[in-house]
């Protein structure tokens, strides 16, 4: 059993290399630390870019010279009310005219009011001739004013915050200054409501099944692997699934035809209902995995206490496991909702409407969402659309921030209980 340990005294040669090793170690430590700051730098850059575009100077010019509206050589300041109303009707879109009449018939207004309408809506339809981001607006103000003075002497330059309460409450519009995200925001909220109602019960149910009921057999293992795989499928594929099944195959259901409630402008399945259902299927796998983890974290001693008193499996789950896992379940749910709110590609595939001005009021309405609105505005060539896109991004980020903050609050409150 004993082996010769070698009486030969071997003296190996070690070259002293400690200083260089230590230097190398310090160098790489710095590099590692540097790479972590890149994450923070990128985040800062991103926020800077968005905020920079969301505020700034805008130069607004009149499109048309007031003199061109003169009737028979008489300038508009001198025209009587009837002629003014005729001028308005000629130069304003039908929809706008109807809106004006609805607010208060023009014939019943005073001359001053009608003249004001002429000024507001006929003579000065606003045209944006230039926008500048925040930093530039602050540092190069004089130069910008001079530039605008030169090229568009009629234009006014003012500092605007593209994001303001009016932005949130205004509907879509082709006019950049008028446009708001209300339609998109409502669309997002309605769709998410449907997603929550559908995905949460099924997701939590599936997680409970897999963690508490499923025995280790072939079928259940397949289900688990399947869910893990689904979590990695690109979101656009879910969009295509939604298109094929909810929009096309189930069109009678999703367009409301069965209930006779179809949207008059489109009788097809590209509705809020389809969008909500598609997003539900999309978030389901990740939601299930998160809830599974929350349930797994509940200590077995808790279950054993309940069984030991003669509780049934469902009683144990409902009265002990679920309440205990609630913080984790809530966190998982809110993460999934956050993800769903930000999803764009699947909804574009399903067929988000490109231009709707009325608010969605039923599950069978056409829809657009906040991310889709951002996408559309960003894709426009004119620079001013980038400004309102930035404003919309800020709205979206604030929505997500408040959602996640609520999640953290709820989680803290529940775990203290």
């Amino acid at each position: 059993m004993s082996t010769p340990t070698g009486r030969i005294r071997l003296t190996p040669h070690f070259e002293s290399n400690l200083p260089s090793r230590n230097r190398k170690a310090s160098l790489w430590q710095v590099l590692f630390r540097l790479s972590t700051t890149i994450g923070m730098i990128v985040l800062a850059l991103l926020l800077y870019t968005v905020v920079n575009q969301a505020f700034g100077l805008v130069a607004i010019d009149n499109k048309v010279d007031p003199a061109s509206f003169a009737v028979d050589g008489v300038q508009i300041e001198e025209l009587d009310q009837e002629t003014l109303i005729a001028v308005i009707e000629e130069n304003v879109s039908k929809g706008k005219f109807r809106q004006l009449e609805r607010e208060q018939p023009l014939a019943e207004r005073t001359w001053e009011e009608v003249y004001q309408v002429v000024i507001d809506d006929v003579v000065e339809p606003k045209d944006i001739v230039g926008t500048w981001p925040l930093v530039e607006s602050l540092t190069r103000k004089e130069e910008i004013l001079a530039e605008v003075e030169q090229e568009h002497p009629q234009a006014t330059v003012e500092f605007t915050s593209w994001i303001d309460p009016q932005f949130v409450t205004s509907p879509q519009s082709s006019d950049v200054l008028e446009a708001g995200v209300r339609t998109a925001l409502l669309g997002s909220l309605l769709i998410i409501a449907i997603t929550i109602v559908v995905a949460l019960p099924i997701g939590i149910g599936a997680a409970i099944y897999l963690e508490e009921y499923a025995s280790d057999n072939w079928l259940n293992r397949t289900i688990q692997t399947n869910i893990n795989n689904l979590a990695g499928v690109p979101s656009i594929i879910y969009g295509m699934l939604g298109l094929a099944i909810f929009v096309r195959m189930l069109e009678p259901l999703t367009s409301g035809a069965i209930f006779g409630l179809t949207d008059p402008t489109t009788a097809n399945g590209r509705t809020i209902l389809s969008a909500g259902l598609t997003l539900a299927i999309l978030v389901l796998p990740v939601l299930i995995i998160n809830v599974q983890e929350a349930i797994r974290a509940v200590p077995n001693s808790l279950r054993e206490g309940s069984y030991g008193l003669g509780g049934t499996q469902w009683q144990t789950i409902w009265h002990h496991v679920l309440p205990n896992a609630m913080p984790g379940i809530l966190t998982g749910a809110i993460l999934s909702i956050s993800r769903a709110i930000g999803e764009t590609a699947p909804l574009v595939v399903i067929g988000a409407a490109t231009y709707i001005t009325f608010d969605p009021d039923s599950p069978f309405s056409k829809f657009t969402t906040l991310p889709i609105q951002i996408y559309q505005w960003t894709s426009r060539a004119q620079g001013e659309y980038h400004n309102i896109a930035a404003a919309a991004i800020l709205v979206l980020l604030m929505l997500l921030l408040s959602l996640n903050a609520t999640a953290i609050l709820l989680r803290n409150r529940y775990s203290r209980k």
Binding site: T3, P4, T5, G6, L10, P12, H13, F14, E15, L18
Partner: protein
């Protein structure tokens, strides 16, 4: 002043080790004799491992750990600011309770540490192959692995893995080898092999071994240090002396009680 010629390899002066506010080891004065086997025994929780780990500054890997006092080695307090713990650990090696070979081949396990510390072959100096074989022989493992040097270190049995860990420690040419209950995770036969190894290694290296097995200490060591702990749960040195003396005519009643099995 301790030099490489003196009889004492490591000397602890007033050593106190804290984890945060808790004092784990209190006022230890201990002189370890060169090229002898010194055993550290005592009931569990009395700081034996902590004392051992303070000899190669492994305690520092725990963020809340703090040492006060001195540990002298090669004429210096190893806790001095200028002393590099990396260099200390090369010269004072350690074998752990549970064998922890690297996820590399058997050959690489042994060669890695040596290469790291600047091993160079040359005229009249051993090549890496020769050095690896030498270390494996010294660890009494060569015959069992010489045909499978490229296999993973994890493919060996527990006892073999532990001897592999000893071999890789030898490969960096330390002067002192610390062993923290090296055989407690092994079966009796493997344990005996390790004990035999300890005695052989003592011809060239200073061995300090922590063990909770008194019979092992009596069999293997030249000197024994007995630790215990007070109500404040700080470990302290009760008695230290030649093994034969500790086990036959202990000076301290507590030592005698422990050895005769009245407590611990």
């Amino acid at each position: 002043m301790l030099t490489s010629d003196s009889i004492i390899a490591i000397q602890a002066h007033n050593l106190n080790v804290f984890y945060g506010d808790f004092r784990a080891v209190k006022d230890v004065d201990l002189s370890i004799e060169r090229k002898k086997v010194t055993a550290i025994i005592g009931p569990s929780g009395c700081g034996k491992s902590t004392v051992l780990r303070s000899f190669n500054r492994m305690n520092e890997l725990v963020p809340s750990a703090r040492s006060e006092g001195q540990v002298l080695f090669m004429g210096q307090n190893i806790y001095d600011r200028q002393v590099d713990p990396v260099e200390v650990r090369r010269r004072i090696g350690m074998v752990f309770q549970k064998p922890n070979p690297f996820t590399k081949s058997i050959y690489e396990n042994v060669a890695w540490g040596a290469r790291l510390n600047g091993f160079k072959d040359g005229i009249g100096k051993p090549s890496m192959d020769e050095w690896v074989e030498h270390c494996l022989r010294k660890a009494a493992l060569w015959d069992e692995v010489k045909d499978k040097l490229t296999q993973s270190g994890l493919s060996l049995s527990g006892g073999q893995q532990q001897r592999l860990c000893i071999a890789r420690t030898l490969a960096v040419s330390p002067e002192v080898i610390l062993m923290d209950e090296p055989a407690s995770a092994l079966d009796p036969i493997a344990t005996l092999k390790i004990e035999e190894l300890m005695r052989e290694l003592a011809e060239e290296y200073t061995i300090i071994v922590v063990t909770h097995n008194m019979q092992q200490a009596a069999r293997v060591s030249d000197y024994t240090a007995f630790f215990s702990m007070n109500d404040d749960r700080a470990g302290y040195l009760v008695e230290y002396g030649p093994t034969t003396q500790i086990f036959t005519i202990p000076q301290n009643k507590m030592t005698e009680d422990y050895i005769t099995g009245r407590f611990g």
